[in-house]
């Protein structure tokens, strides 16, 4: 009797564990009926989530026969792609996902994303042609397939701390814009002088650390430099333009215009008030208050002229989603002209019709109309997306290791030659 009771207890305990584990494993849902959609997000900003939920609720109310609920799920891993990959590898595939531009070509090339061109084209009032061709290009394949809507198409610009520059006795930088003197050379001269007189940081790139090396190499386009050829097959780190640019960058670090790299730490924030110039996007203006006077200007020109750059994020339907059709339907709704205008209160839109001061003022109410016009609206149509490559993830770490001597004052030519030796076989495929 006692034995039977204990055996029962052991079996029950094992059963509970088994049930718990199977619950953890999750289960399949029916792909044919109304779907519960899930979208993975890089952002956990409350404003972003509230807006998406509002749009999602409206869609469910209108299309209850197709979609019963939409969940917006921030992936909280500090490395978003690592978190998303882990989630997908574990079988928990979201229906839609926020995709950063660095992963765009790789995701498009490897067939992870679902082609939504027909859905977008056939959706009444969507107006696919309104999307800037340059903004959409990174998300298309050779056959014209569309694999994401680049909901954020945000140019990089120069934030300047006017109070700090005045304190250091430096000239008015705003008056230089549009003149031949508005160059990186002038800006770094002022940055070095400000650093020398006040001890503050001269010029920084807040997103730069050695593992995010592209935040610095992207600026090389003003020196005519690109990390690889247009077709991605040839390494161009060792090109004269890139060597000139990195040598110049190294010189700026040694004279204090740009802070030295300290391990993998992120540079000081512009919002601290202790940075004279910062290269960042529109969204940074949200973190700034009135504690000091600041301005938002287009990037200066380099030896090879003015070359604006945009950073992007797209929203895609995943090929492995069990509800591609429903997810594509929601994507078309989320990014139609009406909702794109709502999204524009946080993200500079890729739609030509929304590139106006009125719409963008909602995204950055602290910027003046002139700043929005000169640093965003005038810039976006001709801007190029940050350098991307379909197999970037496979060689990114080799570039990181190869560039380290540059940040610590080593031989630039030897470093970039070494990088090309390392990554050329991968680039050639």
């Amino acid at each position: 009797m006692r034995a039977t009771r204990y055996r029962g207890a052991a079996i029950a305990l094992t059963g509970v564990l088994a049930v718990s584990l199977s619950a953890c494993a999750g289960g399949d849902t029916d792909a044919s009926g109304p779907a519960d959609l899930k979208m993975a997000l890089w952002s956990s900003n409350e404003g972003h989530l509230a807006l998406l939920k509002k749009i999602g609720d409206a869609y469910v109310a209108e299309h209850g026969d197709e979609v019963t609920s939409i969940t917006f799920e921030p992936v909280t891993n500090p490395d978003y792609i690592a978190g998303l990959t882990t989630q997908i590898a574990g079988g928990d595939v979201p229906d839609l996902a926020w995709i950063p531009e660095a992963s765009g070509p790789e995701f498009v090339d490897s067939g992870i994303l679902h082609d939504v061109r027909d859905t977008l084209k056939d959706t009444e009032g969507y107006d696919l042609d309104d999307i800037l061709p340059a903004a959409l290009a990174p998300w298309q394949d050779d056959k014209g397939g569309v694999y994401a809507y680049p909901f954020s198409n945000s140019p990089f610009a120069l934030y300047i701390n006017e109070d700090l520059l005045a304190k250091a006795g430096q000239p008015d930088v705003k008056s230089l814009v549009g003149t031949p003197n508005y160059t990186w050379e002038t800006i770094t001269d002022i940055a070095a002088a400000t650093n020398s007189k006040t001890g503050a940081v001269g010029l920084n790139v807040p997103t730069f650390n050695p593992t995010n090396w592209s935040a610095v190499t992207m600026l090389g386009n003003a020196w005519g430099a690109a990390p690889w050829s247009e077709d991605g097959a040839t390494c161009e780190f060792a090109s004269p333009g890139m060597i000139d640019y990195l040598t110049w960058y190294q010189k700026q670090m040694s004279r204090g215009a740009i802070p030295a790299v300290s391990g993998n730490a992120a540079p000081a924030a512009f919002a601290s008030g202790d940075v004279a110039f910062s290269i960042a996007q529109l969204s940074q203006s949200g973190s700034l208050d009135d504690s000091f006077e600041w301005s938002f200007l287009p990037l200066p020109a380099g030896p090879k002229g003015y070359h604006p750059i945009v950073g992007q994020a797209g929203v895609s339907v995943l090929e492995r989603s069990k509800h591609q059709k429903q997810a594509a339907g929601f994507l078309a709704y989320l990014t139609n002209p009406t909702n794109a205008e709502l999204l524009a209160q946080f993200f500079p839109p890729p739609r030509q019709s929304l590139l106006n001061v009125k719409t963008l003022s909602k995204a950055a109410p602290k910027l003046s109309p002139e700043e929005i016009q000169s640093a965003i609206i005038d810039v976006v149509p001709e801007a190029k997306v940050k350098p991307q490559h379909p197999v970037l993830s496979q060689f990114s770490d080799k570039v990181r290791a190869g560039l380290d001597p540059v940040w610590s004052g080593g031989d630039v030519k030897a470093a970039v030659t070494g990088i090309c030796e390392q990554i050329s076989p991968t680039l050639k495929g």
């Binding site: 006692r2 052991a10 490897s110 496979q394």
Partner: protein, 309 residues
């Protein structure tokens, strides 16, 4: 009849050699089952999967998996980044092991005395153990920055400090120091407990025989705390070969591959390069290295640990 009665009585008195009744056995199973299941499900099964993945090319985002035999291993042993990573791991581990044990034993000897306020000192040295490794690493990041606390202090002494985390000659040793001061308190406590179990009369007898304090320490104390040295040595070696957070937060594996230790190389290969199969092969090799070093330490104990419990 009498004989039968006597035999029956004997059976009651002599302890039974039969297995315990079923009830007790199942009770034991019930108590042990969660732990055993936990180890099997969360340890053994994933490890077997990792071994299997290491024989495959697995692209997690597309879900494609292709059996490629030993290709990941042959590629790994020809990969210069892997060689650099093994060297970085072994140097880091050796540095942490030596520095940690020397400092932990020294602190334990210094703090193994009865005096006013000694508990406060012990608490101070132990406190980093309970601090979050992220907070600890970030704080050290500020201290080791070019214009950080350490260089500021050196400037007061008229010395120009270096960029500790970006200089390939100092980055790894900086990480060793960060890791040692984070964990030395735990080993110090273990050594304190071991020192307090060394009978005072043996040391006194040695002193009466003319042994100096140094001789007494090497010939009496060290042999008697050898089991603790073995234990802390094994645990510290394993912990140092698994280091990740300080590398991620302080150096990102750089400069170059100077601090690209195996767990960090594995992480970047899996989650940045999206090569799960190749990363699994790194994981299996890392396991083999840890197992080999642990076995070496364990088997070498016969030569120097004479007081095993």
């Amino acid at each position: 009849m009498t004989a039968r009665t006597s035999a029956a009585n004997d059976r009651r008195v002599v302890p039974s050699r039969r297995p315990r009744p079923d009830g007790d056995r199942w009770l034991g199973v019930a108590f042990v089952a969660p732990q055993v299941l936990g180890v099997i499900i969360l340890g053994v099964v994933p490890f077997l999967f990792v071994i299997w993945y290491s024989f495959n090319e697995w692209r997690p985002l597309t879900g494609e998996m292709k059996f490629i035999g030993l290709d990941n291993y042959s590629r790994l042993f020809a990969d210069p980044t892997f060689s650099a990573s093994v060297i970085a791991s072994l140097l880091f581990s050796a540095g942490v092991l030596v520095l940690n044990l020397v400092i932990a034993i020294s602190l334990a000897v210094l703090l193994n005395r009865r005096m006013k306020g000694i508990t406060a000192f012990r608490t101070i040295f132990f406190s980093p153990v309970v601090v979050s490794v992220v907070a600890w690493s970030v704080t050290w990041g500020f201290l080791l920055a070019p214009d950080g606390g350490l260089n500021g202090a050196l400037r007061l002494l008229g010395i120009d400090g270096t960029n500790w985390l970006a200089d390939s000659s100092t980055a790894l040793i900086s990480l060793v120091v960060v890791q040692v001061f984070k964990g030395v308190g735990m080993n110090m406590v273990l050594f304190l407990a071991a020192l307090q179990s060394v009978p005072e009369e043996i040391r006194e007898a040695a002193q009466l025989d003319g042994a100096s304090p140094w001789k007494s320490f090497w010939s009496i104390t060290v042999p008697m705390i050898a089991p603790t040295i073995l234990l802390t040595g094994i645990l510290t070696t394993i912990g140092s070969l698994e280091v990740f957070a300080p590398v991620q937060l302080l150096t990102g594996g750089g400069p170059g591959d100077a601090t690209n230790v195996l767990p960090f190389f594995l992480y970047r290969t899996a989650f940045v390069s999206q090569q799960f199969g190749y990363a699994s092969a790194i994981g299996v090799v890392l396991f083999a290295i840890i197992l080999t070093l642990t076995m070496l330490q364990w088997t070498s104990r016969r030569k120097w640990v004479h007081d095993e419990v």
